[in-house]
């Protein structure tokens, strides 16, 4: 049996449903309907934002790691294990800063691109197959900023640069 599959056995008596019609208190709490929807719940607190941000990112990186050369039929190289691990460490740093990417895709030039979109402002982190990492920030009016991670900025500074640009 896979690790995440567990057998459970139904031994519970059914719970009672309370009638909310005749109590002021119960009427007041009835306004607390299901706590948002499930999607909201996943991002309703910092812990859940980080946890599910990392789970989503891991899942996407796992999918991208299975791409093979020429995955786009235009000769794009498959993302290298190094680019995947570099992307993972950037995502971990960003998630702990409560920043979630808009999308994570394979790059046509090889590697992993992590995109952040906010209206007219955009940024992406290119994790190249040879391990090089670049932060690119641009919008529709100004010039583009390109910062090499590890040289121009350190990994811990990415969150600050991204927030300042995207705000």
């Amino acid at each position: 049996m896979p690790a995440h599959v567990a057998a459970i056995h139904a031994t519970h008596p059914a719970p009672n449903l309370l009638n909310i019609g005749d109590s002021e208190y119960l009427r007041s709490i009835a306004t607390e309907t299901l706590q948002g929807n499930i999607a909201d719940w996943f991002t309703s607190t910092p812990f859940l934002t980080i946890k599910y941000g990392l789970i989503d990112a891991d899942e996407q990186l796992r999918r991208l790691s299975s791409l093979v050369d020429n995955w786009d039929s235009y000769g794009a190289p498959a993302p290298s294990p190094l680019s995947i691990s570099k992307a993972k460490s950037v995502l971990q740093t960003l998630c702990t800063n409560l920043i979630r990417p808009s999308t994570i895709v394979a790059s046509a030039s090889g590697g992993i691109s992590i995109y952040f979109l906010n209206g007219e402002k955009s940024a992406y982190i290119e994790n190249c197959n040879d391990g090089e990492q670049v932060l690119v920030m641009y919008d529709q009016r100004s010039t583009t900023d390109v910062l090499e991670i590890g040289t121009d900025i350190q990994i811990d500074d990415i969150a600050r640069h991204l927030t300042r640009h995207l705000d």
């Binding site: 896979p2 057998a7 056995h9 139904a10 709490i29 607190t45």
Partner: protein, 246 residues
């Protein structure tokens, strides 16, 4: 049951503890005003905006369209190397303590200190809702025979169906009439990261809606919710789980 109220575990599964206070200010305050009025408290160097995202999809005349909107609804102050996160919004305040959780006294005292800063910025306001939320991650052995060996509230499946799960999300709302409060209990299975571990989120949120006569009344209520939270947690686990986290 007093021993249950203050039980401390060596490997406490608390991943986040949150105090939330919702207010109705006498005069409306805009997010930008609030931002301008609040200086970062000492030890809270980082400030991040809070956005509400809205995506509306439409299918009309054979064409699908989607519009996305993003509103800035407040901001977060992050301190203690990311372990303390205070959220300031025009309609309320929250304070989170992330793993490792220390204790109620230090959570309450830091939350109260930051609350006083929020209160000055928001101006005269009535507290209309308080809640105390604890998010626990229980790491159970993946070869467990039965969930009931470890947790006492979980989804039941008809015995006519296969008794295997690959995931679940459950929310129950349980009135707490003596406190005039409501327990919102969320439980979900986390995707596996270690084949030997089955992680379950046990999220207890106790909410009290009331026009509080004073700040003090709201904080005293939070003290009462905290005692109830402990009883709920202890009532949700078994001795097997106690052994795992002790």
């Amino acid at each position: 049951m007093a021993w249950l109220q203050d039980r401390h575990y060596k490997k406490a599964p608390i991943r986040e503890a949150i105090i939330q206070i919702q207010v109705q200010p006498e005069q409306g305050v805009e997010v930008a005003q609030l931002e301008a009025l609040v200086a970062n408290p000492s030890d809270y160097a980082t400030r991040r905006p809070i956005f509400r995202n809205e995506v509306v999809g439409q299918f009309k005349d054979g064409k699908s369209t989607a519009t996305a909107k993003q509103d800035r609804i407040g901001f977060r102050l992050i301190g203690a190397e990311g372990k303390h996160i205070a959220a300031f919004r025009p309609d309320g305040f929250s304070f989170s303590r992330l793993n490792p959780y220390e204790n109620w006294t230090s959570l309450r005292s830091e939350a109260r200190r930051i609350w006083e800063i929020y209160k000055v910025a928001i101006g005269p306001a009535k507290i209309v809702r308080v809640s105390l939320r604890y998010i626990n991650q229980l790491d159970l052995p993946s070869n467990l025979r039965d969930f009931s060996d470890y947790i006492r509230t979980f989804p039941t499946i008809s015995s006519d169906l296969p008794q295997q799960l690959s995931g679940f999300f459950m929310q129950v709302q349980i009135p707490q009439p003596d406190l005039q409060a409501l327990l919102i209990l969320n439980e979900t299975l986390l995707p596996p990261t270690d084949p030997k571990v089955l992680s379950i989120v046990l999220d207890t949120d106790i909410v009290k809606i009331e026009d509080f006569a004073s700040d003090e009344a709201a904080w005293t209520t939070l003290d009462a919710l905290r005692i109830r939270k402990n009883l709920i947690f202890e009532g949700s686990i078994t001795n097997n789980t106690r052994d795992l986290i002790s």
